[in-house]
């Protein structure tokens, strides 16, 4: 048993060792040429090369796509059109009413995404906070329950969507319960409002555990003697929560808020499998608009998709800058209070 197990580990390890051994000769030669501190460039080279080709180069090309038209993928075959793509996206009589827009789906996707992000993140932080507060108490099976809330975080978005699709479909178990209770079945995913609700619900279900963990770590970092002192002074539990827990947890709450918003704005996988963006465009979000415009429709409008990516990138930039600003201010506030 144990020998079989060691063989199972040893076999790939020998191959790996052989590969790494082969690399020793060229790296030794490079070391002779470059000298010791500069050999570091050789170690960062593979990572930098990959990032250059698949991240930094695409950022530049994305601008090229956004400012050129046509349906060709190859840059040389694309005519320069300037701001035409962005103008098409922003061609609206009334920005508050998507149906007056040239690209009405884009604006529906934007409004859907904004509504989704605010509701999903707000509710998720509320539930994550309550869960973290409960898990922070002296309760039996704390590790087990922490695992229970965390488990869906690891599941793939496609699996998450299928789990819930199976529950929510017309002849699913939820409708069976409803009919057992005497009411009529509901088309959970075919009614626009319900479909939107379930997108929020399912994505909270899938991601809440991650945010619960961060908040729980923050709660556990609050010194217990603060609470003891407050109890000694006769502070009510509500007052203790409001005057100790909430202010001290604020840095974590801000991190969770911005991380959650950055993720929520990019929602795609779960919703795409659960509702496909429907019914109609009720659950079409911005990334799905980019995917459809650029890849899924009969005519691939790469320019429009790239222009929509720029809009998404701009909103993510605003969120990231907000995060940097808020965390910096909070750190400053904290060190001020700690007098450290």
């Amino acid at each position: 048993m144990s020998s079989a197990r060691t063989r199972l580990v040893e076999f790939p390890a020998t191959i790996l060792a052989a590969v790494l051994n082969v690399l020793d000769a060229p790296m030794r030669a490079m070391q002779r040429v470059l000298g010791v501190p500069r050999i570091g460039w050789m170690f960062v080279a593979p990572n930098l090369a990959i990032l250059g080709v698949f991240t930094f180069l695409p950022i530049v090309i994305n601008f090229y796509f956004a400012f050129t038209g046509g349906v060709a993928l190859y840059p040389s075959e694309r005519p320069f059109t300037g701001l035409e793509n962005l103008r098409t996206l922003f061609d609206c009589e009334n920005f508050l009413d998507p149906s007056t827009c040239n690209k009405d789906l884009f604006w529906r996707a934007i409004y859907n995404t904004a509504e989704f992000a605010l509701l999903q993140v707000g509710l998720m932080i509320l539930f994550a906070l309550v869960t973290a507060l409960v898990l922070n108490r002296k309760i039996l099976g704390r590790g087990f329950f922490r695992g229970v809330f965390f488990y869906p975080v690891l599941l793939s978005p496609v699996v998450v969507a299928l789990i819930w699709k199976w529950v929510l479909q017309r002849e699913g178990v939820l409708n069976a319960f409803l009919m057992g209770a005497g009411s009529s079945p509901v088309g959970w995913l075919s009614d626009a409002s319900w479909a939107f609700f379930w997108c929020i619900f399912v994505s909270i279900w899938a991601h809440m555990g991650f945010y619960t963990l961060i908040l729980l770590a923050g709660l556990q970092a609050i010194p217990a003697d603060l609470y003891e002192a407050a109890a000694m002074d006769g502070a009510t539990p509500w007052r203790r929560f409001y005057r100790i827990t909430l202010p001290l947890l604020m840095p974590n709450l801000i991190v969770v808020l911005v991380l959650g918003l950055i993720r929520a704005v990019q929602i795609f996988d779960e919703v795409f499998v659960l509702t496909g963006g429907g019914p109609g465009s009720a659950t079409t979000f911005i990334v799905q608009f980019i995917y459809q415009t650029g890849f899924a429709e009969a005519i691939h409008q790469y320019g429009l998709a790239a222009a929509a990516s720029l809009v998404l990138a701009a909103s993510l930039l605003v969120l990231t800058l907000a995060q940097l600003r808020l965390t910096r201010r909070n750190l400053a506030g904290r060190t001020g209070r700690d007098n450290a």
Binding site: I59, L73, W166, Y302
Partner: protein, 350 residues
């Protein structure tokens, strides 16, 4: 009776359970049902036959119609409890059905035929586990291919991720070459550039490299993770430089120092990154969806998406595929729960 309640609500070294404790446990119980219930329901359902899945309202456990072999018939026949013309109830096997009339025989005496209206017969059920769902997906669909594609991408991308990220982390934590801090900043700054905003240009790059419909087109763009470099660098900073100095005294090459000393000592951090990487690559969806359009290159996630999108979803197969897809992650989770949760709580990444 008060003695029993005191016993049940006693806690170690504390006061009795008060109402807030009860509320906490009620909340956790609700959470347990809500978090695990749907997954459990999926797993139970995946063992039901297609006919049992069509039943509404559904049963909790898999039940199927009992069938019997009857002399003179090639295939086993479905068994029914039928109400005969004279009012008696008998368990009979159905030979054929025309319109609303069903022709039944007694399995023990198959010569005599009974004709019954289909409303007067009900299937005889028994506990039946449809393992066939799991074997047929390998026979009827190229499920093995999808599984292999997913495993290949996950394993190869994780190995390359570990090697490349560890190399970069080693240089960034143990050498002082000019431009080092700039390199670190550049790598970390890519944390703010999610793949969703560079889909179109990345598609061009991958297709120019001839990697469309190739598993490598999914692997290469994913291996240089800023998270991994950051995680490993922070860990390697804690490894004392004296070890490296001692190895240099013994004329070890820098590459040898890297993989003989630094890599083994970084094993805990490498393990955390390996878990993350396996999770990321196994669950990837949007990028593979764009790069891999030929069915024989599909990963499990893409295959699941394709099957659920079909006009008539064959749920009995789809459910079995879903269970197989969530199995490895569940397996990893149940063994490494503590490492994963503390790793995430410490680094704040996922």
């Amino acid at each position: 009776m008060p003695s029993l309640t005191t016993l049940l609500t006693a806690t170690r070294g504390r006061n009795r359970l008060d109402w807030t404790d009860w509320l906490s446990y009620a909340y956790l119980l609700l959470g347990l049902i809500l978090m695990f219930g749907p997954v459990l329901w999926l797993v139970l359902s995946s063992f039901k036959s297609a006919a049992a899945l069509n039943e509404f309202p559904p049963r909790l456990l898999p039940y199927g119609q009992r069938s019997v072999t009857v002399a003179g018939q090639d295939n086993p026949l479905p068994l029914y409890r039928a109400k005969l013309a004279d009012g008696t109830m008998r368990e009979l096997a159905e030979v054929r059905r025309i319109g609303i009339q069903s022709t039944l025989v007694d399995p023990k005496a198959p010569d005599q035929e009974f004709k019954v209206n289909i409303r007067d017969r009900a299937p005889v059920r028994e506990f039946q586990v449809a393992f066939g769902n799991y074997t047929e997906i390998f026979e009827k669909f190229s499920f093995g291919t999808y599984l292999w594609n997913s495993v290949f991408i996950t394993v190869v991308a994780t190995l390359i991720t570990l090697l490349f990220n560890a190399m970069a982390a080693f240089a960034l934590s143990k050498y002082r070459f000019r431009g080092r801090d700039a390199v670190f900043l550049i790598i970390i700054s890519t944390l703010m550039i999610p793949p969703t905003i560079i889909l179109v240009p990345n598609f061009l790059v991958v297709s120019e490299l001839g990697l469309l419909n190739s598993l490598w087109g999914v692997i290469w763009p994913a291996v240089a993770t800023p998270t991994g470099v950051f995680l490993l660098r922070q860990y390697m900073l804690t490894i004392p430089d004296e070890l490296i100095e001692a190895a240099r005294m013994d004329h070890a090459s820098e590459w040898r120092i890297f993989w003989r000393i630094i890599l083994p000592l970084s094993a805990p951090a490498l393990a955390v990154l390996a878990i993350f990487s396996v999770m990321w690559r196994w669950n990837d969806f949007l990028w593979p969806l764009i790069v891999l359009s030929r069915t024989e290159k599909f990963t499990l996630q893409l295959a699941l998406n394709a099957f659920q999108g079909e006009l008539t979803t064959q749920w009995h197969y789809l459910l079995a595929m879903t269970v197989i897809t969530l199995l490895p992650i569940t397996f990893v989770f149940s063994f490494l729960q503590r490492h994963i949760t503390t790793g995430i709580a410490a680094s704040g990444v996922k």
